[in-house]
Symmetry: C2
Subunit: 470 residues, 2 copies
């Protein structure tokens, strides 16, 4: 009996897919940067089936590659080329198990789409604040496994800050029943914190209990044109002074990236009279009714205009205008995908260091990649600026990998000089395992390996992700 | 050469204390519930000395009991009776290393007093939101090691939510340099999250980088008299509706506990006309100037009075009145300490379950401990209600332990029925290791033991805390 036959005795037939066409979308990431092989795609419908799969995988030493909406940017959900692994899709675990309005919590299974969770919270007059470009297709299990960030981190934190409890399956199939709606629980080690962000290498997340927040009853959205990143930081500081903790998003984009977005993504329009060197996207929100948040934004921007901190600003006068402004920001990933050969990064540095970091990257690029265009877009409010190097269209495909490696080494070295992170929110995946080995403190890396051994002694959970194979 | 002699070659003489009188305060907890022995008290002045101590401890297999302000409530910082251990006091590592106003971060060493950190933040027009009864003497390393909570968790979270980066020393003496002012960093496993709340059993915390927040420019404080815990939840719900995320604290206290506080702690005055069955303490704060937060509170309380949700309310008209109200809340620990024999708990349940949980505890106490008084005080806004059973004064001292065990078993069983936590914010320490063994899922406990093994293979770090000795 082949190992797959053994699995057939444990699972519903619909849970086992071997048809190459049906498997194909699961063997590559959405940017088409990674391709792998698997001898089956498993689509369990329940936690019990996930448990059965992991017991089987442990018994047969079968590598498991957990996969959610497959929107990751680091190759963490794509199997390697060997074909030894199975892809474990959590898509069919897609129930919202509970919403507690009084306690402001929501419990959802791994396969739930992020946008559906946002809507379920909104339907109950609450906010689920996680928001990112792929929210229409990424899944809750994936955002937990990668500790996703997005545009509201400045106010609400990353996924880690939103998770109260976690249900996950250990490598040996044991289900850890850690769902809980508790804001405080210090009963033993914070195992779930370790599982969050471990990219499917320590356990398979099957459900999570999240915090909900007061839904902003009043909001204000603006797009500003500025001369420089340091002007953006000045504006942030002014806004903090007057809007306090009401700043939900504060995003920065350079004009080169704005150009790509306007050129490559249909339906994008710049609501300013002319182009500027830099743009800031602002979202304020207030859970209290009758909040003068709109006036606060108008007055702060007027004052910033007067002081020459910004050059122009468009304040949304309707929901539709607000959506149009944010569409410009969210379209970036799509624009970059269509724009041709790029090398992109997901570094973060201290907020105050952002302008100097950008200058250092520009200087490096001017010296080493004179034909590339250096683009910046990201979450300046939390120091996480995506560096995007757009290579000339005529760059030979076979040179891309080498150029990428060379550029990455430079960008990561600069990041390290600033005491930053090589991967602020996209995780390590399979892309950056070598970089982690190079940049992490060896003693910390040894602890990570010891933790991996503690959770997954047989090494069947997403091998080759996060920690390089040895 | 004795092992202490070996240590003398590594440390400044002032770092090694063996005088019994000087050691005594470090061998018991502040409530006097735990007493232990140690063959030395070590008081390093630097991270390098901490590292040297741990290298020595590893070489000599000496158990290390890390200690901060020694204000813990679970016996986690008191050595056992064997005298085999040394107490490692972090008190002299007490520098604030950096404050970054633009990035809203503060980096402090383990021995810094919490109140000093609050003041340093305030002096820079920022808020460090952690606030708890022992803030005048507890130390930053201890609050990180125990993931402390306190009265502002409803808004700002526990210590875990405040820590951005951590410097800690491994059992073998290796210093993990994880201080960073980054809001986002997904480069590998979240080791620091595991160290937070591990009560000195996985590593010794030497410094942390914390988030700072906008300092409330407008605040409002009130004490309310109510009839029941469910009225308190109704009030919370009304307040959420109008004050949104501006609720910094929402605390509940029963009249029995209020009576103890008024009786036993000098300088406490009830600012209401008469006593009530229950009290709620409210603190609102707003980082934006000109916020109508005071009016919001007045109007919400007036509306609650009208709807008979509350019976009376005192709104502070000055800083001094606000401090007097909060003095009533903070004096509870002192009142309980002076009031005679008590058995206290630190459970949490879902917020909506608080009234039913209180009723269940009262019913249990009426049946099993008819002579005890059942008191409740705590953070109803986050579901963390301290159950305090006050035993008759004449209870023979030698019976206290047995009564305590019996009561605890009942309280924990009820907590488990509600899906709550046996220790919301006080940790496991040495008090609750048996309870953790009993109540934790065995597969989760096994993971905790594997993690302990990964971090501390020789078992020298605070042995007997968190995980029961086997």
């Amino acid at each position: 009996m082949s190992s797959l036959d053994a699995l057939r005795t444990l699972l519903d037939p619909s849970a086992i897919v071997t048809d190459p066409e049906a498997m194909a979308p699961h063997l590559t990431d959405w940017r088409g940067k990674h391709r792998g092989e698997a001898f089956a795609l498993l689509r369990p419908r329940s936690v019990e089936e996930v448990s059965a799969i992991l017991r089987w995988a442990s018994a047969t030493r079968t590598p498991i590659v957990p996969q959610g909406g497959n929107t990751g940017l680091s190759g963490g959900a794509t199997p390697d080329a060997s074909g030894d692994a199975v892809v474990l899709s959590l898509t069919r675990l897609n129930r919202i198990r509970a919403i507690d309005i009084e306690g402001d919590t929501l419990t959802a299974e791994a396969g739930c789409i992020l946008a559906d969770i946002q809507q379920a919270a909104a339907a109950n007059d609450r906010l689920f604040p996680l928001s990112l470009g792929s929210e229409g297709s990424c899944q809750i299990g994936g955002v937990v496994a990668t500790n996703a960030g997005g545009i509201n981190v400045i106010r609400y934190g990353t996924v880690r800050d939103l998770v109260l409890g976690l249900e996950y399956v250990r490598a040996d199939g044991a289900v850890i029943h850690g769902l809980k709606p508790l804001r405080k629980d210090n009963a033993g080690y914070a195992l779930q914190e370790l599982v969050i962000g471990s990219e499917g290498t320590l356990a398979v997340v099957t459900a999570a209990t999240f915090r909900l927040f007061p839904r902003p009853r009043v909001g204000a959205t603006a797009l500003c044109g500025l001369d420089s990143p340091s002007a953006a930081l000045k504006l942030l500081s002014m806004l903090k002074q007057f809007a306090g903790e009401r700043i939900s998003s504060f995003e920065l984009m350079c004009d080169g990236e704005m150009g790509l977005t306007l050129d490559f993504v249909p339906g994008t329009i710049l609501p300013l009279e002319r182009r500027h060197a830099w743009y800031v996207f602002i979202e304020l929100g207030d859970g209290a009714p009758n909040s003068p948040i709109g006036e606060v934004l108008t007055e702060t921007l007027a004052s910033a205009l007067e002081q020459d901190v910004l050059q122009d600003a468009a304040i949304a006068q309707s929901e539709a205008q607000a959506r149009a402004i944010w569409h410009l920001r969210f379209a970036v990933a799509e624009a970059n995908r269509r724009a041709g050969p790029i090398v992109s990064h997901n570094t973060s540095v201290a907020v105050a260091d952002v302008p100097a970091f950008i200058s250092a990257i520009e200087a490096m690029a001017a010296e080493h990649l004179p034909n590339a265009r250096t683009l910046f877009v990201g979450h300046v409010g939390d120091g996480n600026i995506h560096v995007v190097l757009r290579l000339p269209k005529e760059t030979p495909a076979e040179q891309l990998a080498d150029i990428g490696h060379a550029v990455n080494a430079q960008v990561f070295a600069i990041t390290r000089d600033f005491g930053g992170s090589i991967t602020a929110e996209h995780g390590i995946g399979r892309n950056l395992t070598g970089t982690l080995t190079l940049h992490a403190q060896p003693e910390a890396l040894a602890l990570m390996r010891a933790v991996k051994q503690a959770f997954d002694p047989l090494g069947i959970l997403n091998p080759g992700a996060v920690l390089a194979k040895r």
